[in-house]
């Protein structure tokens, strides 16, 4: 059975960087002049890669390039990638908000895109009026909305305020109402951006449940874009990984999530680094060869989950005998705050002083200690507990994923970077 419902072929989208508008008229005239003489567009340079860390030669850049994929009926596909990888651009093209520069997409059936909840809500209109307006904007007919009105109002949980102008609503109520309308759309293809990241836990549970229901019915195809790997995993069966505007991986959802994490997490640093070329990793006494962090018993590049033990390895070359060499790591959270320091100073002194040559220090970090977040590590090689021979700032960054969640469990970001599993004693009094 191969009932293809979306077919994307050679899709590409080009954007102009810098200030749009200034110089637009002169560019337009220049472009028209070139085209008039039958020459090619001087601002369309094909073949440039979109990497936001690299400055391109032209101020036009391909946000998406050579995108090809098929989606079959009833599939739920997660689209993942770093910031700026082209996810939103792809969604915008799919939902016809903007058109591609090259390539085409063929679609069977009606598409509804949910890039935002409550689009077009008017503050002066009542909740009920806004349901009709928002529903119509999303492509429902009046009759369709009228038929589902009671259901929508019940789902939103704002029955009491449905005849009050929307400007008196709290932002949470707006979101609820907006999602309630969107959840009752009945298109063949539903495109969802990270709208589920809003609202309180109770509402998220409801929303995810509804989404799951929709895709599991089998008739509806869902394209889901998110940074939250847990929600992607729980909702989708397949994944597409975007990287610098092209598809770097597509396949099953677990492999896709792994491929995404291997591709480098949000900051683009790998979990394993060879430092032999790095001059700051070398001093008269020591040369750090590599550092790495991975889940215990897994490979480098595999995902690391909260409920897995982590293994940090430092490989170094101790050039001389006769002094003590300790490795110290400083662990920082996403905003650069120091969380804790951990050193080998307490480990076996004798072997340390007499050692020479290639050495490996391994640190085991307990499971259920880090929260799902991104962390940074500084590495210090310290001589005789006083002099720093090598200091490597942010030598590693790694991202911990949420453990497998139950469907409907809260998927937001935790407030604290650490979530150690200290022992609670629960007794009945």
């Amino acid at each position: 059975m191969s009932d293809t419902i979306i077919k994307v072929e050679g899709l590409g989208k080009q954007y102009r960087l810098g200030q749009i508008g200034t110089g637009a008229l002169s560019h337009d005239i220049n472009r028209a002049w070139h085209l008039l003489r039958g020459k090619e567009d001087p601002y369309l340079k094909v073949g440039e890669v979109n990497d936001r860390t690299m400055k391109g030669g032209s101020d036009l850049v391909w946000a998406l390039k050579d995108i090809n994929f098929d989606v079959k009926r009833g599939e739920a596909i997660g689209i993942i990638g770093k910031n700026g990888a082209g996810k939103s651009t792809l969604l915008k093209i799919l939902s016809q908000i903007t058109s591609p520069t090259v390539g085409e997409i063929k679609v069977k059936g009606r598409i509804a895109a949910l890039l935002e909840v409550g689009t077009g809500f008017h503050p002066e209109l009542t909740g009920r009026e806004n349901i009709f307006l928002n529903g119509a904007i999303l492509g429902m007919t009046k009759a369709e909305i009228r038929r589902k009105l009671d259901e929508i109002i019940a789902f939103s949980g704002v029955e009491k305020y449905v005849d009050t102008p929307a400007k008196r609503y709290s932002s949470g109520m707006m979101v609820r109402l907006g999602f309630a309308v969107a959840a009752h759309l009945e298109p063949e293809i539903l495109i969802v951006d990270e709208v589920l990241a809003v609202g309180d836990a109770e509402f998220q549970k409801k929303a995810i449940g509804k989404m799951k229901e929709v895709s599991e019915a089998g008739e509806r195809t869902v394209l889901f874009v998110s940074h939250n790997m847990a929600s992607v995993k729980s909702l989708c069966s397949k994944g597409i990984v975007l990287s610098n505007g092209s598809i770097s991986f597509s396949g099953g959802v677990d492999e896709s999530v792994n491929a995404y994490l291997k591709d480098g997490n949000d900051e683009g640093m790998t979990e394993y680094k060879v430092l032999s070329d790095d001059r700051s990793a070398v001093s008269a006494e020591v040369e750090v060869v590599s550092v790495g962090i991975k889940a215990h018993g897994k490979e480098y590049g595999d995902s690391m989950r909260m409920d897995e033990e982590l293994e940090l390895t430092v490989t170094y070359n101790k050039k001389k005998k006769g002094f003590r060499l300790d490795s110290t790591i400083q662990v920082k959270d996403n905003s650069g705050n120091y969380l804790f320091v951990c050193t080998t100073a307490s480990a076996d002194a004798e072997t340390n002083e007499n050692a020479e040559g290639l050495m490996e220090n391994k640190l085991l970090l307990p499971k259920n200690f880090f929260n799902a977040d991104t962390f940074y590590i500084n590495l210090l090689m310290v001589i005789d507990e006083r002099a720093v021979a090598v200091k490597l700032n942010d030598v590693l960054s790694f991202t911990i994923m949420n453990k497998q969640l139950k469907i409907g469990a809260w998927m937001g970001k935790g407030v604290a970077p650490l979530k150690p599993d200290f022992k609670w004693e629960i007794t009945k009094k």
């Binding site: 191969s2 098929d70 085409e104 063929k106 069977k108 002066e124 209109l125 007919t141 009046k142």
Partner: protein, 285 residues
């Protein structure tokens, strides 16, 4: 996968550039409920939290008429023997319809960028809904005009030669709405790239009013400029309306035909531009 059967089954093909002239009538029809909801929204939202509410539809033209009445009597502007109040009101409600259609539609892209950036629906729905909601407003004002007409005819004994040309009224309305819409969508398309136009529109429309025989009759213009003035397609429309309802003015089928042809031309340019911008404006706005 097998690529043999699915070639002709796809309902929608998203491509870089569709034909510039294709108006998505099917889409417009499918979203007709949205059109009516936009019209309703405009009405409900405009006069919420006002004491007089929809009465403002009537107060506005009356106040403007009073203003011109005062200016007219000071400056001694002729009204072809028609009671000035009636003469000014006829010009004002007509011109307001055109001007409102133009200025409101000219903001289509900039004012709706937030919605357009999140959801797709045929963009033409928005300018069309503006023309429709202004039409409702115009109808109310037209009833006011008729009331004044009857008052002056029966109680003041004014000489008003209403004639069969008045039957052209629906055509005049269509021409006016069309011109407003066409100019509006041209300007709205250009504003996405060149914001400068935004500042010119209100000023330009006001200036255009004085270049159109709205508050003075065409007959008061010297022959030298008459031809020039009639190049403005709105001139013959307004004169024709006055001729039909008040019995004074300039009625020429040739110039009405000119209005129609220029409308088709401007609308053509407007639709081409609008279709082009619709596809790309999210990247430029």
């Amino acid at each position: 996968m097998n690529g043999t059967t699915d070639k002709d089954e796809f309902d929608l093909i998203i491509k870089p550039r569709q034909s510039m002239l294709s108006i998505d009538f099917k889409g417009l029809w499918r979203y007709r409920d949205l059109l009516m909801l936009f019209v309703k929204r405009d009405f409900v939202a405009t006069y919420k939290q006002t004491v007089l509410g929809p009465l403002w539809f009537l107060i506005q033209p009356i106040l403007t008429t009073v203003t011109f009445y005062i200016i007219g009597s000071i400056a001694n502007i002729p009204t072809d023997g028609i009671p000035p109040v009636l003469f000014y009101m006829a010009g004002i409600i007509l011109w307001n319809y055109y001007a409102d259609c133009l200025t409101k539609t000219s903001e289509t892209f900039t004012a709706n960028a937030a919605i357009f950036g999140k959801v797709y629906f045929p963009r033409l729905i928005v300018p069309v809904s503006i023309v429709v909601s202004n039409f409702v407003r115009f109808s109310i004002q037209f009833v006011l005009f008729l009331a004044f007409w009857l008052y002056f005819y029966f109680f003041k004994g004014a000489v008003l030669h209403m004639n069969t040309v008045a039957l052209l009224f629906p055509v005049l309305l269509l021409l006016m709405a069309g011109h407003g819409l066409a100019m509006g969508i041209i300007i709205s398309s250009l504003t996405t790239k060149y914001r400068d136009l935004k500042f010119l529109v209100t000023f330009g429309v006001q200036l255009l009013m004085y270049a159109t025989p709205v508050i003075y009759p065409l007959s008061s213009v010297s022959d030298k400029y008459k031809g020039l003035m009639l190049l403005n397609p709105m001139a013959s429309i307004i004169e024709c309306f006055k001729y039909g309802f008040l019995g004074v003015g300039f009625f020429s089928p040739a110039y009405l035909l000119y209005s129609l042809i220029s409308l088709i031309l401007i609308l053509f340019i407007g639709v081409v531009l609008f279709n082009k911008i619709e596809k790309s404006f999210m990247d430029t706005i």
